[in-house]
Point group: C2
Chain length 201, copies 2
């Protein structure tokens, strides 16, 4: 069984303050042209997407520097709706290549402005621990791991841990054994929109 | 082991004649803004992408009508570089949910105009057979299954077989046992760019 952890991309998809809106518009139609086609305009950090080091780190890798092996791995679900506890996280046996999923519950407020403005950042000690364990990616159902000037982004991306933002449906992962497949568009820039699924084992 | 079957999306990515070019442009930079971000403009049928029925069929399903289960399945590699042979294809034991991969070799000419203008269409009898077997998707390393007015597209999409176009690296699948994971952006229109991987078993 596969679970879709990705949000829809539409003209109504919420975007980070200051980012351009998503635009999906028809450019042909079946009656006149014989086929339907659309033109899509979107920022690299909209919806469910993966951040690469070059988003925050001068000279850091772009996303296409990573082979697809990096985007598939054992998923480790961590419920942080009541907060982060490093001692508990240490007990999970995180290992290189794991994909850590923080369930914050914030995505329930995706349509509200406080989604982008009132969330609990990932503690620095937790970010350092993920880097130490060499996990492949850390995903979350919130808009990002921290606020400007983005110290947690920089710990993670500087430590070669990629970040998946704006996940959904994480409640369906509690208590499950699963792998994550998080496939970004093959754009060689600072990030790319992605389709992310969990495969229940 | 995973193999990336997706082409890169850049300002140089070839597009179907008449389609708008891909545009990837920076909108912020680390020095001035503290982070790097890009704006991407692309048609739904550019690069490696998946066609939904509404591309060609009035009233047909958009892509987001399909749960992610549809995008993962047993891969069946078929070498058609010397042509299509329905009798041989019948021997492969295709079953519902399979993802058929036609290796045409055309992607080697992706940068040339004849890529879009001189290819061998999928024969109608083969398309009808794929529909009969209820395969989930048919993928190919060429720009599409046929020329205007697109009779083969209509057989496949009308029969609920989705189409993956502009795959690459298919030579690496010959003789392998693999699954395909073909994840499109979660756009609810006629098609979406996708990242497609093969997982070698």
């Amino acid at each position: 069984m596969h679970i879709d952890l990705s949000v829809r991309l539409t003209n109504q998809t919420p975007v980070y303050p200051g980012d351009p809106a998503v635009r999906v518009k028809p450019v042909t139609n079946i009656e006149q042209d014989g086929f339907q086609d659309h033109l899509v305009t979107l920022a690299t950090h909209v919806g469910t997407h993966i951040d690469a080091p070059s988003h925050m780190i001068s000279g850091g890798h772009n996303l296409d520097a990573y082979p697809v092996e990096r985007f598939v791995g054992r998923g480790v679900y961590i419920d942080v709706r009541q907060g982060y506890n490093l001692a508990d996280i240490r007990k999970l046996g995180l290992k290189a290549g794991d994909i850590v999923i923080f369930h914050t519950g914030m995505i329930e407020r995706y349509e509200k402005t406080d989604y982008f403005e009132k969330f609990t950042p990932i503690p620095a000690e937790v970010a350092h621990y993920l880097v130490e364990r060499q996990v492949s990616l850390v995903g979350m159902d919130m808009c990002g791991p921290d606020y400007p000037p983005f110290p947690i982004h920089k710990i993670l991306l500087g430590g070669d841990v990629l970040i998946i933002e704006n996940l959904t449906n994480l409640d369906r992962l509690a208590g499950r054994t699963f792998t994550i497949t998080a496939l970004p568009l093959r754009l060689d820039v600072d990030a790319a929109p992605a389709r992310v699924i969990a495969t229940i084992l």
